[in-house]
C-alpha cells in the first residue's frame, strides 16, 4: 500500500553512521509510494559535481547516466536553477530543449519526468527525479508526498556528517557510484599526459561518440579494455588483445 511505502521510505532515511550509504533507502519502494516507474536521487553541490545516491535499476539509471554523460537534461537544469522541472509529456516537448538527450530518453520508453530540487534555503544540494512510462501530470497527493520525501532527504543529508566524512576519506564502507569515472580520469591523464580536467573531457567525448554512457566507458578504461595512449597518434581504442600493457 502506498501509505505503508511512504512511511517505510521516511523511516529508512535516517542517517546510518558507518553504513557508508548516505540516506540509504529502497528506491523501488519509494517509486511505488509515489506511483511512478522509477526514481533517482543525486547530490549536486555545485561546479557540475554529481553523485548518485540511490536509483531504481533500468530506465532511471540510464536516464541519470545519460544526463551525466551529456551534461544536459532536467537534472542539470534543476541543479542550476533550484526550481522543479516538470515534463508530463516528453514526446510533446520541443526537441530544442535537450537536443541530444530527448530522443535517447524517449527511446528508453520514458513518457514523463518530474525533477525536484533538494533545497536548503536558496541552495540546491541535489535532485530527485521521478519518471513514468505513461505520460500525464503527477496527481496532487503524490506530488506533495514527493516534496515530503525531498525535504526529509535534505534533512538526512544535513544530519549525516559522519557519513560525509567517511565518504570524503574514501573509507572502505562508503560507496561511490561514479568512482570508476574519476579513476579512469586519472588513468587517462597518465596515459595521454594531460591534466585530469582534459582527461575527463576526452572520456566524455569518447563516450558520446560511441553512444555509450560515461560510466560504462570508464569501467572499460579501469579494466584496461580501452586506453587513451596517443603517443602513436592513434585515436582511443581497444587495448590490443585485451591486455594490460605497461606504460
Amino acid at each position: 500500500m502506498a501509505m505503508d511505502d511512504l512511511a517505510a521510505v521516511l523511516e529508512s532515511l535516517r542517517p546510518a553512521p558507518g553504513s557508508g550509504g548516505m540516506a540509504g533507502v529502497d528506491a523501488q519502494r519509494c517509486a511505488r509510494a509515489l506511483g511512478v516507474d522509477g526514481v533517482a536521487v543525486s547530490v549536486t553541490p555545485g561546479s557540475g559535481l554529481n553523485e548518485l545516491l540511490w536509483v531504481t535499476p533500468g530506465a532511471s539509471t540510464r536516464l541519470e547516466d545519460l544526463q551525466f554523460t551529456l551534461g544536459q537534461g532536467p537534472g542539470p537544469e534543476v541543479a542550476s536553477s533550484g526550481a522543479a522541472v516538470v515534463v508530463p509529456d516528453l514526446a510533446a516537448e520541443p526537441a530544442a530543449r535537450w537536443p541530444v538527450l530527448l530522443p535517447e530518453v524517449l527511446a528508453l520508453g520514458i513518457g514523463a519526468v518530474f525533477c525536484l530540487p533538494l533545497r536548503l534555503g536558496e541552495v540546491c544540494l541535489g535532485t530527485m527525479t521521478l519518471q513514468r512510462a505513461r505520460p500525464g501530470p503527477l496527481a496532487q497527493t503524490p506530488m506533495s508526498d514527493a516534496r515530503i520525501i525531498t525535504h526529509a532527504l535534505t534533512a538526512a543529508l544535513v544530519k549525516d556528517e559522519q557519513s560525509w566524512d567517511a565518504f570524503a576519506a574514501a573509507h572502505d564502507s562508503s560507496h561511490f557510484y561514479r568512482a570508476a569515472v574519476h579513476q579512469a580520469t586519472g588513468m587517462v591523464s597518465a596515459q595521454a599526459g594531460v591534466s585530469v580536467a582534459e582527461a575527463l573531457i576526452r572520456l566524455r567525448a569518447y563516450a558520446f561518440q560511441q553512444g555509450r554512457s560515461l560510466l560504462e566507458v570508464a569501467e572499460d578504461v579501469v579494466a584496461r579494455r580501452v586506453h587513451f595512449r596517443d603517443d602513436d597518434g592513434d585515436e582511443p581504442g581497444p587495448a590490443p588483445g585485451g591486455g594490460t600493457e605497461g606504460p
Binding site: L120, E161, S189
Partner: protein, 242 residues
C-alpha cells in the same frame, strides 16, 4: 470568517515572515494530515518559534477551536515548550498521569477535557538550531513504536526544511560547502588511484593501499597527497610501489 478561521489567522499573522507564503502554509497543513494518517494519531500541529522566541501554531491537521486553543496554550508550559527549549523529543506522554505532566498541569487538563490521552512532541531542528516542535495528540492511550518514532522525526524534519527554505541561507551555504568539499576530496582520491594504477600497471585497489600507506607514514592528509600527485608536485617514484 468563522471564529476558527480568525484564530488561525491570528496565530499565522504572529509568525510574520511566513504570512505571505500560502504555499508553505498549505504544504504544512498537508504534512499534518499525513502525520495523522501515517502515525495513526488523532491530531497533529506544527509549532514554530516566532521572532519573539515564543511558539506559535502555524499549521494543524484539524482546525477546531479546542485543538487550536490547546496548541495556543503552549506559550509558557507544555511538552512543545520543553522540547523546543531542550531540543529533545518527548514521546508517549500520558496526559492522565500527574507524574508525567507535572511541569504542564494546565495543558494536560485542557488536553484531557478535549478528549486527548496521549501526546508526543518532536523537535524541529537543523544541527544546533531548534526552530519549533511537531506536536501529536491521540485520543487513545497508545505509544509510538520505535519505527513510528523515526517516521515522526522524519516528518518533523520535513517541516523544518520546508520552513528553512524561507530563512537565512547561512546553514545552506555551510552545508553545500561541506558536501562540495567531500565530493571534491573523494574525486581527487579516485583520480590519484587511477594515475598510480596506470603508471604502475596495478589495480586501483593496490594503488589506494600504497597511497594510504604513504600518507600514514609521512603523517600527511590522504587528500593532500592525492592532490599533489594530480598536480605533478609529488613524483610517483616517491611512493613505495605495492
Amino acid at each position: 470568517m468563522t471564529r476558527e478561521e480568525r484564530l488561525l489567522a491570528a496565530v499565522i499573522d504572529a509568525v510574520d515572515t511566513l504570512v505571505d507564503d500560502f504555499d508553505l502554509i498549505d504544504f504544512l497543513h498537508t504534512l499534518c494530515d499525513r502525520c495523522v494518517e501515517l502515525l495513526d494519531v488523532s491530531a497533529a500541529g506544527v509549532m514554530l518559534e516566532d521572532p519573539g522566541g515564543e511558539l506559535q501554531l502555524i499549521a494543524a491537521s484539524d482546525e477546531h477551536t479546542r485543538l487550536l486553543e490547546i496548541f495556543a496554550l503552549q506559550h509558557d508550559e507544555g511538552p512543545c515548550v520543553e522540547c523546543h527549549r531542550s531540543g529533545i523529543l518527548r514521546l508517549n506522554i500520558d496526559l492522565t498521569s500527574p507524574a508525567e505532566t507535572g511541569t504542564f498541569p494546565v495543558f494536560a487538563a485542557r488536553g484531557r477535557e478535549s478528549g486527548f490521552v496521549t501526546t508526543h512532541a518532536l523537535p524541529m531542528r537543523l544541527r544546533d538550531t531548534v526552530i519549533g516542535a511537531l506536536n501529536l495528540f491521540d485520543t487513545r492511550r497508545q505509544n509510538l513504536s520505535p519505527a513510528d518514532a523515526r517516521v515522526a522525526q522524519a516528518l518533523a524534519d520535513v517541516a523544518t526544511i520546508a520552513i528553512l527554505q524561507h530563512r537565512t541561507a547561512a546553514h545552506a551555504n555551510q552545508q553545500r560547502a561541506q558536501m562540495h568539499a567531500a565530493l571534491k576530496s573523494r574525486i581527487a582520491i579516485e583520480q590519484a588511484k587511477g594515475i598510480l594504477a596506470e603508471r604502475w600497471s596495478t589495480t586501483v585497489d593496490e594503488a589506494f593501499d600504497a597511497l594510504r600507506r604513504h600518507a600514514r607514514s609521512h603523517r600527511l592528509g590522504l587528500t593532500m597527497v592525492c592532490r599533489q600527485i594530480i598536480d605533478g608536485q609529488l613524483p610517483t617514484d616517491a611512493i613505495d610501489r605495492p
